[in-house]
Symmetry: C2
Subunit: 470 residues, 2 copies
C-alpha cells in the first residue's frame, strides 16, 4: 500500500504518478498474478431452480478458491448478496452490489483487494417495461466499475450484463443490445485512461462474432481471455451456455446444439503494464459431489499475469510502435466498418420505434374520438337516432372507462417510445460523429489503402458528406 502514502490534492492523480514515474531511468519489471472469476448466478428468487442451494455451493467454492476478483451477474436479491458477503468476509473482504432499476442491476463484485471507488453507468435502452415476462427492463441493466489497487497498479474492473437474446432469428432487442455495446465501449474507453490494468467480466449475451462483440473489442482494444489464454480447460469452443447443463432446455440454444459462448473475461494493459492470460477455464455443466451445477451459465476463471515496466522507451518499444503504425490503418478502417454496421442496426431500431410510437399515437387519438362520440351521443339525444333509451347508463360508463384506459395506456407508451427514440437518435448521432473522426484519422495515414478503401469518400470530401441525411 505504499502508493497510499503519496499525498495528492485530488484523488485522480494517477496520470501524474505515471508521468513522474517516467523520469526514473532504470527499467524495472515486476510480475503479479491475478485470478479473475465471472459467473451469471441465475439468482431469481422463487423462480430459478435450487437458488439457495446453488448460492451455498457458489459461496463455498469462492471461499475455497480465493480468486482475487469475483464478478457476479444476476444476484438480483439484496438478501442473497448480503449472505454471500457474510460468507466471503474472510476470503473477499471487499465487495459492492450495484443498484439500479426496479429490482437492481444484479451486478456484484467481491475482491481480495481494497475497492477504492465504484461507479455505475445505466444503459439508456434496456427492453420494454410491458415485456414483463422477459423482465430485462426491470433489471436496469448497467455496467459497474470498481477501482482497485493491485499492488502499486490501478485496476479498473468492470462487470456488466447486457439484454438477453430471446429469439436470434427475429431479435427485436438487437438495436437495444447494440446501443448497450456502444455505451459499454464508450464507458470503458473513457473511464480507463488513467488505469494501468483494465478487466471486464460478465454476461454480454452476444456471440464472439456478433456485431456488439466486435464493436466492443475493436474500439476498446480489450483482449479475450479465451482467445489469448496459453492454456485452456473447459467446454468446447469456450462455450458458457451448454446443452450438457441440466438447467438448459434444448429449445433455448436453438440451432447451436452444443451451446454458445456469451460470457467473457476481457482485459488490457497500458503503456506501463503488460498483461498476459496464463490459463483460462470454465465449468462443464456439472460440479463434482453435487447434484446440479452452480448456475445455468458456466463459470469462467482466468489467470492473468501483470508485468510492470517503468515506461522508458526501449528499442523493443520503438519496434512495437513501428509495428503498430503498420497495422493501425487497417484497424481503424475495420472500426469504421463496424461502427457503420452498428449505425445501420440503430437505424432499424429507430424505424421500428417510430412505427410503434405512431401506432400508440393513432390508437390514442381513436380512443379520444370514441370518448367524444360517446359524450356527444349522451348529450345530444337526436344523435341516438330515435332509440327509446338513448344510451344505456351501464354501457355508457363501461365505454367511458375503456376510453380512459386506452388514453392512459397510449399516453404512457407514447412517452416511453419518445424516450426510446431520443436514446436511439443520440447513439446514432454519436456513431456518425465517431465515423467522421475515424475517417479523418484514416486520411492521415500515409499508406492508407485499407481493405475497404473503395467505400471511403474521396480525399477532399468532408466526412459529413458521408452522412447527407443530417
Amino acid at each position: 500500500m505504499e502508493s497510499e502514502l503519496i499525498p495528492v490534492i485530488s484523488p485522480d492523480l494517477t496520470l501524474h504518478h505515471l508521468l513522474t514515474a517516467c523520469s526514473a531511468s532504470m527499467a524495472n519489471t515486476n510480475s503479479l498474478n491475478v485470478r479473475v472469476f465471472s459467473l451469471n448466478c441465475w439468482g431469481i428468487r422463487y423462480l430459478s431452480k435450487h437458488t439457495p442451494q446453488r448460492y451455498a455451493m457458489i459461496g463455498d467454492m469462492l471461499c475455497k478458491e480465493e480468486h482475487d476478483i469475483v464478478l457476479l451477474q444476476e444476484v438480483w436479491s439484496e438478501k442473497d448478496y448480503l449472505s454471500m458477503k457474510k460468507k466471503l468476509a474472510c476470503s473477499h473482504p471487499h465487495s459492492h452490489h450495484f443498484k439500479s432499476g426496479v429490482i437492481g442491476s444484479g451486478l456484484a463484485i467481491f475482491s481480495k483487494h481494497r475497492i477504492h471507488e465504484t461507479f455505475l453507468y445505466r444503459y439508456s435502452l434496456n427492453g420494454y417495461p410491458y415485456m414483463a415476462q422477459h423482465g430485462d427492463w426491470f433489471g436496469g441493466k448497467a455496467v459497474g466499475m470498481a477501482v482497485l489497487k493491485l499492488g502499486s497498479l490501478t485496476a479498473n474492473v468492470y462487470v456488466t450484463h447486457l439484454h438477453a437474446e430471446y429469439c436470434r432469428d427475429k431479435d427485436s432487442y438487437l438495436p437495444h443490445r447494440v446501443v448497450q455495446a456502444w455505451e459499454l465501449q464508450q464507458f470503458v474507453r473513457h473511464t480507463s485512461a488513467g488505469a494501468d490494468v483494465v478487466i471486464l467480466g460478465g454476461d454480454l449475451n452476444m456471440h464472439p462474432q456478433d456485431l456488439g462483440s466486435r464493436l466492443l473489442m475493436s474500439y476498446t482494444a480489450l483482449r479475450d481471455s479465451y482467445v489469448e489464454s496459453a492454456k485452456f480447460d473447459g467446454c468446447e469452443d469456450g462455450m458458457t451456455l451448454i446443452a450438457d447443463n441440466p438447467f438448459i432446455g434444448k429449445k433455448e440454444l436453438g440451432p447451436f446444439e452444443k451451446g454458445i459462448r456469451i460470457d467473457y473475461i476481457l482485459f488490457k494493459g497500458s503503456s506501463k503494464t503488460d498483461i498476459y492470460c496464463d490459463f483460462m477455464s470454465t465449468t462443464k455443466g456439472s460440479v463434482p459431489d453435487h447434484p446440479f451445477p452452480y448456475s445455468d451459465h458456466e463459470a469462467l476463471t482466468a489467470g492473468l499475469r501483470l508485468e510492470t515496466q517503468t515506461p522508458t522507451e526501449t528499442d523493443s518499444d520503438r519496434q512495437r510502435t513501428s509495428k503498430n503504425r503498420d497495422s493501425a490503418a487497417g484497424k481503424v478502417a475495420e472500426l469504421v466498418d463496424i461502427v457503420t454496421e452498428a449505425r445501420t442496426e440503430v437505424k432499424v431500431g429507430l424505424h421500428c420505434a417510430e412505427r410503434m410510437r405512431y401506432t400508440a399515437a393513432r390508437t390514442g387519438v381513436m380512443g379520444l374520438a370514441l370518448l367524444f362520440l360517446e359524450l356527444a351521443i349522451a348529450a345530444v339525444p337526436w344523435l341516438a337516432l330515435g332509440a327509446e333509451q338513448p344510451f344505456p347508463r351501464t354501457s355508457f360508463y363501461l365505454l367511458a372507462a375503456l376510453c380512459f384506459a386506452i388514453l392512459l395506456t397510449t399516453t404512457l407508451l407514447y412517452l416511453f417510445y419518445t424516450m426510446e427514440l431520443k436514446s436511439l437518435q443520440g447513439a446514432e448521432d454519436q456513431m456518425r460523429l465517431a465515423v467522421g473522426s475515424l475517417q479523418e484519422k484514416l486520411r492521415g495515414f500515409p499508406l492508407a489503402q485499407p481493405h475497404n478503401a473503395q467505400r471511403r469518400p474521396p480525399e477532399g470530401h468532408e466526412p459529413s458528406a458521408f452522412t447527407p441525411e443530417e
Copy 2:
C-alpha cells in the same frame, strides 16, 4: 492537426502519447487562448417569452464573437438547434445536440475545433414525472461530454444542467440534486484522466457554497473561472440570475434580492498543461440595441490560457509536489466532511422515498380491498343487508373503474419510488465506500492532524466501523 498523423491501434492512446512525450528532454512552453461561452437559453417553445427573437439574437452574437467553445443549455427543441447550427455553420462548424429523456437534455455544444467524440451520462435521479408543472423529469437531465483537439492538446469539454430549485427553504429535490452533483463529479473525474484540459460549463442550479457545488469542486479539483479570473466584468458577485433581468420575477429570487450565481464555467489542467483564466464576463440583464436580454439567465464568457510544457520534472515541479503534500491532508479531510454531509442528505432522500413508496403501497392495498368488497357485495346478496336493489349497476361500474384507476396509479408510483430508492441506495453505497477509501488515505499522511481529526475513527479502526448501519 499533426497529432492526427500518428497512427494508433485504438483511439484511446492519449496516455501513450503522453508517456512517449516524456522521453523528450527539452522543456517547451506553448501558449493557447481559448474563449468559452455558456448560456441557459430558456428555449421552451411557445412558453418562454420571445423565443425566436432571442435565438436570433444569440445566433447573431455567437457568429460575431466566434468563441472557441459554446456550451448551451435548455435548447429543448431540435428545430431550434438545427437552425442555430445552420446559422453558425461558418463560425462554429462542429456541433452536437445531446438527446435524452422525453424532450431531450437541452444540452448543445458548438465548437470552432473538431469534436472527435461525444458521450452522455444521464443522471439516475431527476425529479418526478407527475410534477409535470416543473418538467425536469421530462428533460432527462444529463452531462454531455465532447472530446476536442485544441492544437495538440486533448480537451474534455462537459456541459450540464442540474435539476432546478423551486423552493430553497423546503427543497424536496435537494437529494436528487446532490446525487446529480455526485454523479457529475464521478463522471468528470473518471472520464478526464486522459485529457490535457478539462472544461465544464452549465447551469448547476446551485449557489457556490451549496453542498453539491462543494462536492463537485473539491472532488474534481475543478477551478471556478469567476473566482480565478484575473479580470472580471459583469454582475455583482458574478451573479447569473439577476433581479435586473426583465424575465425574472421578484418572487423567483426569494431572499436573494439582487440575484444568485448558479451558472459556471469551471476548468482544470493536467500535469502536461497549466491553465489560467485571463478574463471573465457576464451579461448584465440587457443587450445594447435590443429590447430584451438573451435569456432569463445571464451569459458567461471566460478567456482561458493554456500553457503546455513537456512534463519533465523540474525544480519548480518538485517544489509544487512538496507544497501539494502539505495541503493534501487538509483537502482530503475536507472532502471526507463534504461526502459525509452529502451522504446525510441522500439518507434524508431515502427516508422520504421510503415513506412515499409505503403510502403508494398502502393506497394500492386499500384500492384492492375496496374492489374485493364490491365484488363480494355484488356476488353474495345477503351482504347488501336486505336492500331492495343489492348494488345499483351504475355505481358498481363507477366504483370498479375507480378501484382499477387507484390500483394502476399506485402500481406505477410504487415502481417509480422503488427505482428512486435503488438509485439513492446506490449513491449512498458509493459515498460510504469513498469515505472509507479517503479515510484510509488520510491515515497514510505522516502529519495527519487535519482540522476535523477528532471526528475520525482511531488508527486501528476499519473504515467500515464508520458505517455500522450496514
